[in-house]
């Protein structure tokens, strides 16, 4: 299934969910040439944000990605409140909703390391390349080594170092 990146961003933006774009899509936005299959966002966790987030994605029937069908999974603000990070499949693609990320913390901590961008006629916040590199380093996953090498090359091309 092709992840509808504009569709997911539009769903979140229209309900005024506060989030920062991170992960593979953020890397692509910064210039990465790597294939990415899902949209990763760090979302704000106030009661109002949880309510908005639940409403934003409800129409797209979120369900835990890779889980067998028929689980008693209920998509609502209570589920969001009781959990933190959700890897979900929706009818318009895969999305990871992250309450926190290693090396970066939550929405409030990432906000100063993000900037507003305009894409597909929407405004959303994108994690800075420098912070993206930092959190990928902190994650310490072997699969990120190649990505890190690419992101560092992009930073150098942009005159970062």
């Amino acid at each position: 299934m092709i992840t509808d990146i504009p569709g997911l961003l539009r769903a979140l933006s229209e309900k005024e969910v506060r989030f920062v774009l991170v992960g593979g899509v953020a890397a692509v936005a910064h210039g990465s040439a790597r294939l990415t299959q899902d949209v990763d966002v760090v979302y704000a966790r106030s009661e109002e944000d949880l309510r908005r987030l639940a409403a934003a994605l409800a129409a797209f029937r979120p369900y835990p990605r890779g889980a067998p069908p028929g689980l008693p999974f209920q998509w609502d603000e209570r589920t969001l409140r009781n959990g933190l990070n959700f890897t979900l499949q929706t009818t318009i693609g895969a999305i990871d909703l992250l309450g926190e990320i290693a090396g970066g913390g939550g929405y409030g901590e990432l906000l100063p390391h993000s900037s507003e961008i305009e894409v597909f006629g929407l405004r959303c916040r994108l994690l800075s390349l420098e912070k993206l590199i930092e959190v990928k380093r902190a994650a310490g996953r072997p699969k990120d080594y190649e990505v890190l090498a690419e992101l560092e090359a992009i930073l150098e091309r942009r005159g970062g170092r």
């Binding site: 092709i2 990146i5 210039g31 420098e130 090498a149 690419e150 090359a153 992009i154």
Partner: protein, 59 residues
């Protein structure tokens, strides 16, 4: 403007540097963010088509 800390060199990450295709990066940096995201979706579509073709080709 975010302050950029001195780069912490990681020999493991550095080992992957020769494999980074700089021509692709240069090409992407000439695009707008929106164009980069649309290109990523095209890549996804291509990967999905190849996956399906592979499935069909299996005996």
């Amino acid at each position: 403007m975010e302050r950029r800390p001195d780069r912490v060199r990681d020999p493991v990450v550095d080992a992957y540097r020769p494999g980074v295709d700089l021509t692709l990066i240069e090409e992407n940096l000439r695009l707008t963010v929106e164009e980069r995201l649309l290109k990523a979706m095209e890549l996804q579509r291509l990967a999905e088509e190849l996956r399906r073709a592979g499935e069909r080709a299996r005996p």
